[in-house]
Symmetry: C2
């Protein structure tokens, strides 16, 4: 592997000049630049990143951790984040933490060891090893939270108004005449789940339905929702609001397994608007999140911090949208 010294020797210049040709071409005479570039091509020279990082203390990389890479919801967020990072001259290192705090900590180490310049994390948990960093550096800590929002963590974040989103879902069901509504939540430890539940309760309360809600806890996966839905159907609900599209799929599957039809007997509404949601059978009514934009804005916030340009806002709330498809319909007439 050719080094900058080889290039300098072959081009008859110093390493400083080679370095300048590569990073600030304007400061080098045209003829020299051309000669150096020729040698660079000929030797197929690539700067050694470790050496550069060591010298500049800048890795030009952002770490993006997701709690579950198999959840298609995150795919779009990741795409948006990568685009924004590329625009700003950063590469994205993607980490799948599988909701495992230990793995989260391992990835967090990359920041501590300066392997990456900053971190965007999509879960709800700031790795323990970074709490000290946030406490020490405050607003200039290069950490941004995406999708979720926990004020106590003390880092900027990008998210939708989850309470308002789920309130919209309930309003939609109530409008269709549903009164016995089942809710399949996420684990209460996640703020996103708490916020959505708060929105549900608020909306239900507005219609005097708060005490008629049928609550069941899921884990955002189809399996858990399938089981929860079976129980709720037995309780006689006519509609199910699931805190994720994946759970909605599990719920629809349970409706079918119970010999009922969706939306004829039981309406189902999800949350997220996965790319596949419109191909579900029936096509899924859901609350859409601006997934790509969440990723993009999160990275932009982070890059702002890295560049030292304090952003005006540290909490970005983006718009959600109710997408009406075929999985919700009028409540069946009581017999």
């Amino acid at each position: 592997m050719a080094t900058i010294i080889d290039v300098a020797a072959a081009a008859g210049v110093s390493t400083a000049t080679v370095s300048r040709v590569l990073s600030q071409p304007g400061r080098v005479a045209e003829a020299t630049r051309a000669r150096v570039m020729e040698v660079v091509e000929a030797l197929d020279y690539r700067p050694n990143v470790a050496a550069r990082t060591l010298r500049t203390l800048r890795a030009a990389k952002i770490l993006l951790t997701v709690p579950d890479i198999s959840n298609p919801f995150f795919a779009s967020v990741i795409r948006g984040a990568e685009e924004a990072a590329r625009d700003a001259g950063y590469a994205v290192v993607l980490g799948d933490t599988r909701h495992d705090p230990e793995v989260e900590d391992q990835y967090a180490e990359m920041l501590s060891r300066r392997e990456v310049d900053g971190l965007v994390f999509l879960g709800h948990r700031l790795p323990a090893s970074l709490e000290a960093l946030v406490a020490r550096e405050g607003a200039s800590a290069p950490i941004v939270n995406g999708c979720e929002y926990s004020p106590e963590i003390g880092v900027p974040s990008v998210h939708i108004d989850n309470a308002a989103g789920s309130a919209d879902a309930i309003e939609h069901l109530v409008e269709l005449g549903h009164r016995e509504i089942g809710i399949i939540t996420g684990p209460p430890i996640s703020p996103i789940s708490r916020d959505r539940l708060a929105g549900v309760l608020r909306a239900a309360d507005r219609h005097g339905l708060k005490d008629r809600l049928h609550l069941r806890e899921g884990d955002y996966g189809a399996d858990s929702a399938h089981r929860a839905a079976r129980a709720l159907i037995a309780e006689g609900v006519t509609a199910l609001f699931c805190f994720s599209d994946e759970m909605a799929l599990g719920a629809i599957s349970a409706v079918g397994a119970a010999g009922l039809s969706c939306p004829g007997d039981v309406s189902v509404i999800g949350f997220d608007d996965l790319p596949l949601a419109r191909f579900f059978h029936p096509a899924l009514t859901t609350i859409a999140q601006p997934k790509g934009m969440i990723g993009r804005r999160a990275v932009e916030l982070l890059v702002g911090i890295l560049r030292g340009t304090e952003p005006a806002e540290r909490q970005v709330t983006l718009a959600h949208e109710l997408i009406r498809r075929a999985s919700t319909g009028p409540a069946p007439n009581p017999q």
Copy 2:
């Protein structure tokens, strides 16, 4: 940020000793080790990765590129790869190339610049900039192909027998009495698609159905399959074999949209066995791939190359399996 020099000074030893305490604790006296570790804790010292990489020429990282991160199929492969990498002391850098050769090349640069020690790529295209590397280093080039297999690329790979898998799918449909079978393939540029098509033709030929096949090209996405299925249904097929589960979902959606039922009027069989496939409505019959194992073996192959222990086999073929669920059934009786 504390450096190894600070630690050495505070512990009253040389940097060499500190380094040894961290990387080969056995070579240091117990008392010294304890004292150094105390200082390490107190100063919250973390070795600078760039400096280490620069010195050792080893990044302890593997690059894993996937053509489309939003395809849930890859999630399980990624998981398996990460596990194997962790076991071998490597971290995984994940890249989403979106089928874009330019992005593929950008990621490939990471290998050229020694940012990572090796590459596992899941697409079918070896980035152009790496062809020279393979040509030069041959079997010791730290590159492995996963899921797909193109002999002309000249790198080790891990995959199933795609032709046999799709032959099984056809056999299954023929057994159920189907004669008018629609096939929704992938783009012919992908070897995986070509192999699967070859298997289809072989099996169909065995039953004298080769000329009755209805072929349509898809792009592995639900959307393309939805359109293709619509056309095939109009042609009167009683069964659809889709080269991916995602396309099968699109096909099922098209069956419903045509006012027909699956599997009553049209059976649908997919390929991959996504985690969600059993929650589709109807639950999807499909050819399962050992996704996690593909990722794991690919990384193991790569680590073998990196360690210089030439592996016995450079092509690993894993077993697939036909999963019978509810989306396929007997062919309807002709009127």
